[in-house]
């Protein structure tokens, strides 16, 4: 057995289950743990939900550098004055950041600029960026900005389009801003008509299903919420003895992952987070229907769903615990990697369509974009307080250049930000591949981005609300701490809290 990380985790789980059900002795269990190289810290960090996003890409697929000669020459020349400078960037362990961390030495070789990438869980990225902008410290030259924070940090970042024009001597040839996917720019990187950063990552909700389980029970690929609900309930019941659930959730109380699940459910049932009057509308009829549907799904999920974020949900899919999942498309490459136990069994389809009509953008507030596929993208942004702003600007252009972005996709399997990457021969030739390095899911991802992508509201307090008030109260409801199971009571309380924060910020 190969002990690539995710397979190793399955091996450990299987061994632990076998031990607890007395199928193997303690001695055998310890031997297996020894083989798997289990140490407390590694075991805990890897398996227990550090909140890091799963990455099971393979750097071997990153391919050789295909940087055009004029771009390489530009970097050599432009980088000379900054040789020896060190720039700092803090980010969540997103797949593209992991790849970038591996490729950054190529940039240093060309320019002499050193790059330190500090990879920490999402909550810590937010805390670090918040403290940096509060004191205008310039500790970080570049910020990782989740789409939920774009408006929060808008005033702290330099507009890259403007900077490109303002600094022609530092402008990378053929950088081509128009090549960035328009919906992504609008949903992730823009605020009030200004670019806050460059789009860098696009996890987006699509439907994923185990084709073997669906075929076994003669179930069609779900297209609507009704189809999905029926399939999930059927499979949970039919596969109970095999410990397979219809679906799995990322419902960790107080965590942003739960808020993402909730917004998807709300939009999917024709609701929205805010109304046109800028009041919270997550407690109206459509939104409550969405939340009640989510409660039903949670009842058909592994118990660990209430303590899981995205990595826990990924593990449910990797360990064969769930049959259907509407979640982050970036799970797909790992589930289909060569050393995955479920390789080739997962397929991707378009996100579920709700029976209700989506609300138009005029009917919602704060720039929210209702849609069938929740996006959780992020940008890299240039800090206004950076002491090495020009060196950081060179790195930012390099990181978001055509070749690097394509290579990030090749190594990580996640969706590209640039339209040209989808047509890159290196991407196209892997569409028929089943196994590591597959790009066969990218057409569905691109369709979702271009047609039904949903974005959370743009308001400067959203980072706080999406990470605190909403998921905390939802957690109380879903774990039975409060509200007696009543979705309406819970969301009325959330409405009160969110509207109070909006009023306090004088945004109402």
């Amino acid at each position: 057995m190969s002990f690539k990380r995710f397979n190793k985790q399955n091996f450990i789980i299987d061994s632990a289950n076998a031990f607890t059900s007395r199928k193997i002795t303690k001695r055998d269990f310890l031997k297996k743990m020894g083989v798997a190289g289990v140490g407390i810290s590694a075991y805990s960090a890897g398996m227990l939900g550090s909140g890091a996003r799963p990455f099971f890409g393979n750097m071997a697929h990153a391919a050789e550098s295909n940087t055009p000669e004029d771009v390489a020459n530009f970097l050599r020349e432009a980088g000379k004055p900054f040789a020896g400078t060190t720039i700092r960037y803090t980010s969540e362990a997103t797949p593209p950041t992991n790849v970038l961390n591996e490729l950054k030495s190529e940039f240093t070789e060309l320019t002499g600029i050193n790059v330190e990438i500090e990879i920490v869980p999402l909550e810590q990225v937010l805390a670090k960026a918040t403290q940096d902008v509060q004191g205008e410290l310039g500790t970080y030259d570049l910020y990782y900005l989740d789409q939920a924070w774009t408006s929060t940090f808008a005033q702290d970042c330099i507009d890259p389009v403007e900077y490109y024009k303002a600094k022609p001597d530092l402008a990378m040839p053929d950088f081509d801003f128009d090549d960035f996917s328009k919906p992504l720019v609008e949903g992730i990187s823009e605020y009030e008509g200004k670019w806050i950063g460059l789009p860098f990552d696009i996890p987006i909700f699509t439907l994923m299903y185990r084709k073997d389980i669906l075929e076994k029970h003669g179930i069609e690929i779900p297209k609507t919420y009704e189809d999905f609900t029926a399939a999930v309930e059927f499979i949970t019941k039919a596969e109970k003895e095999n410990n397979i659930y219809g679906t799995g959730c990322q419902a960790k109380s107080g965590h942003y992952s739960l808020e993402c699940d909730w917004t998807q459910a709300v939009w999917g049932h024709g609701g929205s987070i805010f109304g046109a009057d800028k009041n919270f509308s997550g407690n109206d009829e459509a939104a409550i229907e969405g939340l009640e549907w989510y409660q039903k799904m949670l009842a058909n999920s592994p118990a660990a769903s209430v303590t899981s974020t995205w990595d826990g949900q990924w593990q449910m899919g990797a360990s064969g615990q769930i049959a259907l999942c509407q979640s982050w498309a970036e799970f797909f490459p790992g589930w289909n990697a060569d050393d995955s136990e479920v390789k080739g069994l997962w397929e991707m389809a378009k996100p579920l369509q709700g029976s209700a009509t989506l609300r138009s953008r005029d009917d919602v507030g704060f720039g929210e974009i209702p849609g069938w596929g929740h996006q959780g993208g992020s940008s890299i942004a240039l800090s206004r307080y950076s002491k090495n702003v020009d060196a950081a600007w060179l790195f930012l252009q390099w990181a978001c250049s055509k070749d690097i972005m394509t290579r990030c996709t090749l190594a990580g399997g996640f969706a590209p930000m640039r339209n040209s990457s989808y047509e890159d021969p290196r991407i196209v030739e892997r569409k028929g591949l089943v196994g590591s390095g597959t790009t066969r899911h990218l057409d569905t991802v691109k369709w979702t981005i271009d047609n039904v992508m949903a974005s959370e509201p743009d308001l400067p307090i959203w980072a706080g609300v999406a990470n605190n008030e909403i998921p905390t109260e939802l957690g109380k409801l879903l774990t039975g701490q409060d509200y007696g199971g009543s979705a309406k009571k819970c969301m009325d309380q959330v409405a009160k809290l969110v509207d109070a924060v909006v009023d306090e910020a004088e945004l109402g």
Binding site: A45, N468, T472, K476
Partner: protein, 296 residues
């Protein structure tokens, strides 16, 4: 010339000031200044959108008293502190009595008792997280086998059990601290009263109730005070194991202050919650010192 004459005058002075200066300045910089800064910060209202801070001295303090989450957090903090303290005190005293012996091997046992204390609390939290896992956790599976818990209700994912899960981790780590203090007290007790009681026919339990406990009362009070203050500011286990959840089932005051600070970036209000915690700890500790007549 004597060595003393070669040293700077302040270094040979018998005045207390030069000797108090280093520690006093440390206390001022790292103790008093942050408190005063927090107090100053708590008098400002922050607009989370514009980050503008307006001087409104009563705003955050009024908000503190009206905030339901603060009252819930106070209740959880007190529950946590009292239950954990009681468990650690009883277990600590019991284990100390067992280890209070000069027989061979007991010295090693006493040394081994200190091992949990060298593990960082965050690592302890991770270890227990692992042992509580509903799929493969040894504690969870033991409880499932005994039908005391159901796999559908994970220990840390269920409101009614999550706080207990955290308390157990805290108790595992900090009971040895109680053992050490109690052992130090027990081994310093005079032998004569116990010998006299034994000659008079007192049982071990009678000796314990009428001699050990009264003679140990000051030590116990001191241990309770030190550990109690520590428990009121619990943060690491909660952060690592439950992140205050599920819902707010394990949200202590310090954890809530952390949430307001790190997630909502409302620094003035977070400072107010932290100061509120400090006031609560001071009041409780003072009350305890008065009632139990603790003398240092």
């Amino acid at each position: 010339m004597s060595k003393r004459a070669l040293l700077p005058r302040w270094l040979t002075s018998e005045h207390p000031l030069p000797w108090l200066f280093p520690v006093t300045s440390l206390l001022l910089v790292f103790g008093l200044y942050p408190i005063l800064y927090s107090l100053w910060l708590s008098f400002y209202k922050r607009n989370p959108a514009t980050r503008k801070e307006t001087f409104l001295p009563s705003y955050n303090w009024e908000k503190l008293f009206a905030d339901d989450r603060v009252w819930d957090a106070i209740q959880i903090t007190f529950t946590y502190a009292f239950v954990a303290l009681a468990l650690q005190l009883i277990l600590g005293l019991a284990i100390a009595l067992l280890l209070d012996s000069d027989k061979k091997g007991f010295g090693v046992l006493r040394a081994l008792m200190t091992l949990p204390l060298v593990v960082p609390p965050a690592v302890t939290g991770m270890m227990f997280l692992l042992m509580y896992d509903s799929s493969f956790g040894v504690i969870s599976n033991a409880l499932y086998s005994l039908n005391l818990l159901s796999p559908s209700a994970p220990i840390l994912g269920t409101g009614s059990t999550a706080l207990w899960g955290v308390i157990v981790a805290d108790t595992w780590q900090w009971t040895p601290f109680m053992v050490l203090i109690m052992l130090a007290g027990l081994r310093a007790l005079p032998k004569e009263p116990f010998e006299a009681a034994s000659i008079d026919g007192a049982t071990a339990i009678q000796s314990f109730i009428h001699l050990t406990l009264p003679m140990m009362s000051k030590i116990i009070a001191l241990a309770v005070l030190i550990r109690g203050i520590d428990l009121f500011r619990i943060f690491d286990y909660v952060k690592v194991m439950t992140d205050s959840g599920p819902g707010t089932a394990t949200e202590t005051l310090t954890a809530y202050a952390g949430t307001v600070y790190f997630k909502s970036a409302n620094f003035p209000y977070a400072s107010t919650v932290a100061l509120g915690t400090l006031i609560l700890v001071l009041l409780t500790a003072t009350l305890f010192i008065k009632i139990f007549k603790v003398r240092f």
